[in-house]
């Protein structure tokens, strides 16, 4: 069945250093990179960030086409932001048409924002492309675990994500089954305008919801039968350990961040 062949998340299998880094290193690295994009004040800074990102992508072996796919979904957002910035930034107008005017500062800001957004997307998709979803949730759990002392349910959050990932294919199967059953009884999911189609989804969504609850009840019982009682006193089979490459990555990260700040201080355009 085709619906079973889906890959979870958008992991791009590979054997590069980037793939092998501890998920925690990658998570922190990604966050730092995203922050650095907001620290950057000029185009020279972006050029530097861009070159670093390009090198990283090259090392990871993820084809550029793959990375660019992530852009498609947010293309509208990028264009929209650019246009708003283009027209709405006050400054000395170089072009006027009725109430619309474009200022020099507007062009500058529009490009600035577009580049920032594109790099944000590239940076974060590099993380999800090179890290398995399971490793990612594990990494998040460990990174957040110190916060559980102040009441953040880090284990529960990670467990929820793990279960969500596990049950995506199961629920897809279920959707497929319900869809076929309802089609056999004359339900129509394919024709009509947007509103009619949305209405057509009700006979699909209601049974899907009910069955999701049933699955949840079953799973909860199975988990209890296997002695699950929350995160306290739990051990993990695959412990995580920082390796040499993680240490090197940490040093590079610090240097990178320092460089970004330094470039921000330079008196260039």
């Amino acid at each position: 069945m085709a619906i079973k062949d889906i890959t979870l998340g958008q992991y791009y299998p590979g054997d590069s250093v980037v793939h092998k880094l501890d998920p925690r290193t990658k998570l922190i690295g990604t966050i730092l990179f995203l922050v650095s994009l907001f620290v950057v004040k000029n185009f020279t800074g972006f050029l530097f960030c861009g070159i670093c990102l390009a090198i990283l992508v090259k090392i990871s072996g993820v084809p550029f086409k793959y990375m660019a796919r992530g852009l498609k979904a947010v293309m509208f957002l990028i264009v929209f932001t650019a246009i708003i910035n283009l027209f709405m930034t006050p400054g000395d107008p170089i072009w006027r048409f009725g109430i619309l005017k474009i200022a020099r500062e507007g062009i500058y800001r529009a490009c600035f924002m577009a580049i920032r957004l594109v790099m944000l997307i590239f940076g974060s998709s590099l993380l999800t492309l090179t890290t398995k979803p399971v490793a990612l949730t594990d990494g998040m759990e460990r990174l957040l675990s110190p916060l559980s002392k102040i009441g953040l349910p880090s284990h529960e959050l990670a467990m929820m994500m793990t279960i969500a990932l596990r049950f995506i294919p199961t629920l897809l199967d279920e959707t497929d089954k319900i869809m076929k059953a309802q089609t056999a009884r004359g339900a129509d999911f394919e024709s009509g305008n947007l509103l009619q189609r949305a209405k057509g989804l009700i006979p699909l969504l209601v049974p899907l919801f009910v069955s999701a609850f049933r699955i949840a009840a079953d799973l909860a019982m199975a988990m209890e039968a296997r002695c699950y009682r929350g995160g306290d006193g739990r051990t993990r089979m695959n412990g995580m350990a920082f390796h040499n490459c993680d240490r090197i990555a940490a040093v590079i990260l610090v240097l990178y961040f320092a460089a970004v700040i330094a470039i921000g201080k330079l008196p260039v355009f």
Binding site: L8, T162, D218, A225, R226, C227, R234, T235, R236, M237
Partner: protein, 293 residues
């Protein structure tokens, strides 16, 4: 009795109130209705299960066999009476986790009992919950996966496996907790014949290794492999015998809508026609053997 008992049920009852279509439980101000809506899923069950035995529990839908199974590892607590697992009462919350470790359970739906999207992580789930040392977990997971013949699938996602394979992973998950007793709650009900045969072979293997096995099923052919069959009806065990003796009362089973295994029912029919056959024939193979003699 000289043999050690693993599970002891003493006059266990389990009752619940039925909800009407609006989800309301009939309340106290109408006492009569309340009584009529109270259902007894288990109605005074008393039985002992010996260590190392292979017990099948059969019965038609609604006979209480699944409810009974859930009493064996404290998923449900008796409304009255007492359930003892390895001498510990399920009613005491302090015992709950030790009972669940010692008495593992495999459920009917292979999809709804796997937790992780990687097979070996799922098998590790039980021992992880018990706080076992990581190196020891690794060893247990490998052993459990080998025991069910799924070692080469350890890195796969469960959604890529067949129903029978998923059920084998579920069994491995229970084995990794090193239980003394495993309850199988209709483990083959959602599987195809080949998956069913696989699971049954593993169950028999576990019994031979000395684990106590309790198999809830409505396939008589499967129950026939046990050394003791308990037939449930309306929340009570009504027959409790070795398979050969049980299949001697064919009419009684018929009344309960339970189908005899092919070998046993054929032997009974042939005996009625005057064919001289020894007692205790259960399987078709044994029947053929006796007929050829």
């Amino acid at each position: 009795m000289s043999k050690e008992t693993v599970i002891q049920l003493k006059d266990v009852t389990f009752s619940y109130y039925v909800e009407d279509a609006e989800g309301n439980v009939t309340t106290n101000n109408d006492v009569d209705v309340k009584h009529s809506e109270k259902r007894m899923a288990l109605d005074g069950v008393t039985l002992d299960i010996e260590k190392g035995s292979f017990v099948a529990i059969v019965g038609s839908n609604g006979s209480g066999k699944s409810t009974l199974a859930k009493h064996l590892n404290a998923l449900l607590l008796p409304s009255s009476g007492e359930a003892l697992v390895c001498g510990m009462s399920t009613a005491d919350p302090d015992n709950t986790w030790e009972i669940r470790r010692r008495c593992g359970m495999v459920f009917q739906n292979p999809d709804n009992q796997l937790v992780s999207s990687v097979v070996e992580d799922d098998v590790a789930f039980g021992p992880e919950n018990l706080g076992v040392d990581p190196a020891e977990i690794r060893k247990r997971v490998d052993n459990a996966l080998n025991a069910v013949g799924m070692y080469e699938f350890r890195k796969k996602g469960p959604h890529l496996l067949s129903g029978g394979q998923k059920q084998r992973i579920a069994i491995a998950g229970v084995l990794a907790m090193q239980p003394e007793c495993i309850v199988f709650d209709e483990p083959t009900a959602m599987l195809d014949p080949s998956g069913r045969a696989e699971i049954l072979k593993i169950i028999r293997g576990l019994h031979e290794e000395g684990k106590t096995v309790i198999l809830i099923t409505h396939f008589m052919e499967e129950a026939a492999q046990a050394d003791r069959i308990i037939v449930m009806d309306k929340g009570r065990p009504i027959l409790d015998e070795a398979p050969a003796a049980l299949f001697a009362h064919g009419e009684k089973l018929q009344e309960l809508n339970l189908q005899m295994p092919f070998g046993a029912s054929m032997a009974a029919k042939l005996r009625d026609l005057g064919v001289d056959l020894p007692e205790g024939i259960i399987t078709a193979e044994r029947l053929a053997e006796c007929l050829c003699r």
